[in-house]
């Protein structure tokens, strides 16, 4: 791989890793606080898969960059503007709030986000299995199996919420209305990431939009929920311009590693 190509490939792997890590961190916030024990375990397992995927991807980034970085450095010693995750994944588990407010966690937001994102990721991993980078393709085929379980879990709950009581339906619809506009960035990539896909022989993720919409529409219909119109502000987390929430996520996630920079435990 030439230097330019491997820089692009590292940017793509970093974007994928940041997505997995930030959602993994968010879902791990439910650990010990799940609405019921089974869901506590489910979200902990889901977070474990995502953080495992992030580790494999960060190791791949470090190998591509050959600059002496490693998974810990990439996860714990970068600041918000260096993270390339989708804004959707850093949002708190609540519907829209004023920047400094903190609301109760709303499980409907957690489930809707996991549903929208894991449905997307099954398609992404499926496409990346064909990448002409054996390591990325290997990570993709492992992650795809895990994403399928995440979809199953999230869509089962989404259908239960939507087709459940008036209150659960209202909360699921509110979560959907809040989160759907953030999915607009699924179909956008930074320049380096797009170039990397081309070099890897994989179509741009925008080509996955139709299949994703079909899956989402089918589950929403079964859940008796209404597909909200997207449009409005297009989030830019994937190019490093984040919401105010990412800094708080990182502060909590990174503080221990930064307080003890060479700590081993």
């Amino acid at each position: 791989m030439s230097a330019v190509v491997s820089t692009d490939a590292a940017a793509l792997a970093l974007h994928l890793a940041d997505n997995a890590l930030i959602l993994g961190q968010r879902n791990a916030e439910w650990c010990g606080h799940g609405p019921i024990l089974e869901e506590d375990l489910a979200l902990a397992n889901n977070a474990l898969d995502l953080i495992g995927q992030a580790r494999l991807l960060y190791q791949h980034v470090a190998a591509l960059r050959q600059d002496g970085s490693d998974e810990d450095r990439l996860a714990y010693f970068r600041d918000a503007h260096e993270f390339k995750n989708h804004t959707l994944l850093e949002l708190p588990h609540s519907t829209a709030l004023a920047p400094t407010a903190s609301g109760d966690r709303d499980y409907a937001v957690t489930i809707v986000r996991n549903f929208l994102y894991s449905s997307f990721m099954v398609l992404v991993w499926d496409a990346l299995q064909q990448a002409n980078d054996p390591q990325l393709a290997a990570i993709a085929s492992k992650s795809r199996k895990e994403a399928l379980y995440h979809v199953q879990h999230a869509q089962d709950w989404l259908i239960r919420f939507g087709d459940g009581t008036a209150e659960s339906h209202q909360k699921a619809q509110a979560a959907l209305n809040h989160l759907m506009p953030y999915t607009q960035s699924f179909w956008l990539l930074g320049e380096a990431e797009a170039a990397a896909l081309q070099a890897l022989g994989v179509a741009h993720f925008s080509s996955l939009q139709k299949a994703w919409q079909t899956q989402v529409a089918r589950v929403l219909a079964e859940a008796t929920l209404t597909m909200p119109a997207d449009g409005g502000h297009v989030p830019q987390g994937h190019v490093g311009v984040h919401s105010e929430h990412l800094g708080f996520v990182l502060a909590e996630m990174q503080s221990l590693a930064r307080a003890h920079p060479s700590g081993v435990w």
């Binding site: 489910a42 474990l48 953080i51």
Partner: protein, 194 residues
């Protein structure tokens, strides 16, 4: 590349014949078990994939189960310790492809799991995992199918009844789901197809 890998790159691995160059090492590593399921060896789990000569000495190849399985580091260390204790110089390497599958569990492992109280995975992983979510077939064509009337035929490891129900798709470890037998009423773990 060893005979084993050439013969069986993606499937359950049996113990090699006595004339296999690394037979003694395979036997040695039979004692290394999955730390969370201490009745099956790493070979029977499909985690230990190969022992072969690399350019810089002997390589022992393992592959992770789930990406985030916290037991992987332990398995790596246990293999390394077993080799060191026997005075064997070898590197333990982790390989991701081909991706581990529950299809690689040997028949002996399935029987041992059952006796240990864990229902072994049903059917082929590639069919089962997708069948109940978004039945993907050919790569790059994913069909999203959710069967609401999914009935996994998971037999209770205690009383063997198939009258069982899923309590939670996620259980005590990443690889297991929680089930309950509706006949003997005992809860049990089910090793999910992966």
């Amino acid at each position: 590349m060893s005979v084993l890998q050439a013969v069986n790159p993606q499937g359950p691995l049996g113990l090699p014949d006595a004339d296999h160059p690394h037979h003694a090492l395979w036997l040695l590593l039979e004692n290394v078990c999955d730390p969370e399921i201490p009745v099956v060896s790493l070979r029977e789990m499909g985690v230990l994939r190969d022992i072969r000569e690399g350019p810089d000495g002997l390589h022992v190849i393992i592959t992770p189960t789930y990406s985030g399985c916290p037991a992987m580091t332990q398995m790596h260390d246990d293999v390394q310790a077993a080799l060191a204790a026997a005075g064997v110089q070898a590197q333990v390497l982790t390989q991701l492809a081909p991706a581990w599958s529950t299809d690689w569990l040997t028949d002996e492992a399935r029987e041992k799991l059952r006796r240990y109280g864990i229902a072994p995975p049903n059917g082929s992983a590639s069919q089962t995992a997708e069948g109940s979510a978004m039945a993907g077939v050919a790569s790059n064509v994913v069909h999203f199918n959710r069967s609401t009337s999914r009935k996994d035929d998971v037999a209770c490891p205690q009383c063997h009844s198939s009258n069982t129900t899923e309590v939670s798709r996620f259980g005590s470890t990443a690889c297991k789901a929680m089930y309950r037998c509706l006949d003997c009423m005992e809860p049990f773990d089910y090793f999910k197809p992966y």
